[in-house]
């Protein structure tokens, strides 16, 4: 069974640009969660999508947004990039909001220069 896949693995962007990160969940999982892990910090909850809808978001500004497609894959968009957006972005999937079975991808390392 394929795990959670994220692309790209690494992304370098210039301040002010937009970044798009992608995530494909485990087959059968309907929920996708996005997390940010900045240097020296734990994982911070960004967004939760389930059945195509944004269900909840963490304490992040609106320039962090995304969507979930009918096949449950998801995109995270970060607009007007700032230097402090440089971080590892992790995607996780689960069935609905069930924590049991919550599985992470390997992440996208975003560097803003």
């Amino acid at each position: 069974e394929a795990g959670v896949t994220q692309s790209p693995t690494h992304l370098i962007k210039t301040r002010g640009q937009q970044a798009t990160l992608r995530c494909s969940p485990i087959s059968g999982h309907t929920s996708v969660y996005w997390y940010q892990q900045a240097l020296g910090l734990g994982l911070q909850f960004l967004l939760w999508y389930d059945e195509g809808e944004e269900r909840n978001r963490g304490n992040f500004p609106p320039r962090f947004s995304g969507r979930q497609f009918p096949n449950y894959s998801s995109e995270l968009n970060v607009n007007a990039l700032e230097l402090e957006d440089s971080a590892l972005y992790l995607c996780a999937s689960s069935y609905r909001d069930r924590v049991y079975g919550y599985t992470f991808g390997s992440g996208t390392r975003l560097t803003v220069v």
């Binding site: 020296g40 734990g42 909850f45 939760w48 909001d97 924590v99 919550y102 390997s106």
Partner: protein, 114 residues
């Protein structure tokens, strides 16, 4: 305001000995706790979890203890092996669901010495 705290950024343990990783939380609404292990350049992988209705859960070499009155949990690894060297994250959720996401600690880097 950190709701889940792992106060030891790193821990060094000899191979074969017991590794004990600690985690404290402040939000009494948390009722489900998880431990994840993370290697560099990989995503966190689930290790073991515990519901607030229990005080202990075992899975092979891994045991998690929960002390609700102290708002404290610990992960015991016995015996420690070189492959256990990784960053360990403690995480918590409310009502057993992920609607608010998991709340993570900053992690403890466990180093197993030969």
């Amino acid at each position: 305001d950190q709701q889940v705290k792992q106060n030891s950024p790193s821990l060094s343990v000899q191979e074969g000995r017991i590794s004990i990783l600690n985690c404290d939380y402040t939000n009494s609404m948390f009722d489900y706790f998880l431990w994840y292990k993370k290697y560099p350049a990989e995503g966190p992988t689930f290790l073991i979890s515990i519901s607030s209705i229990k005080d202990k859960n075992e899975d092979g070499r891994f045991t998690v203890f929960l002390n609700k009155s102290a708002k404290h949990l610990s992960l015991h690894i016995v015996p420690s092996q070189p492959g256990d060297s990784a960053v360990y994250f403690c995480a918590a959720s409310m009502t057993g669901g992920g609607a608010d996401g998991l709340t993570f600690g900053k992690g403890t880097h466990l180093i197993i010495q030969p």
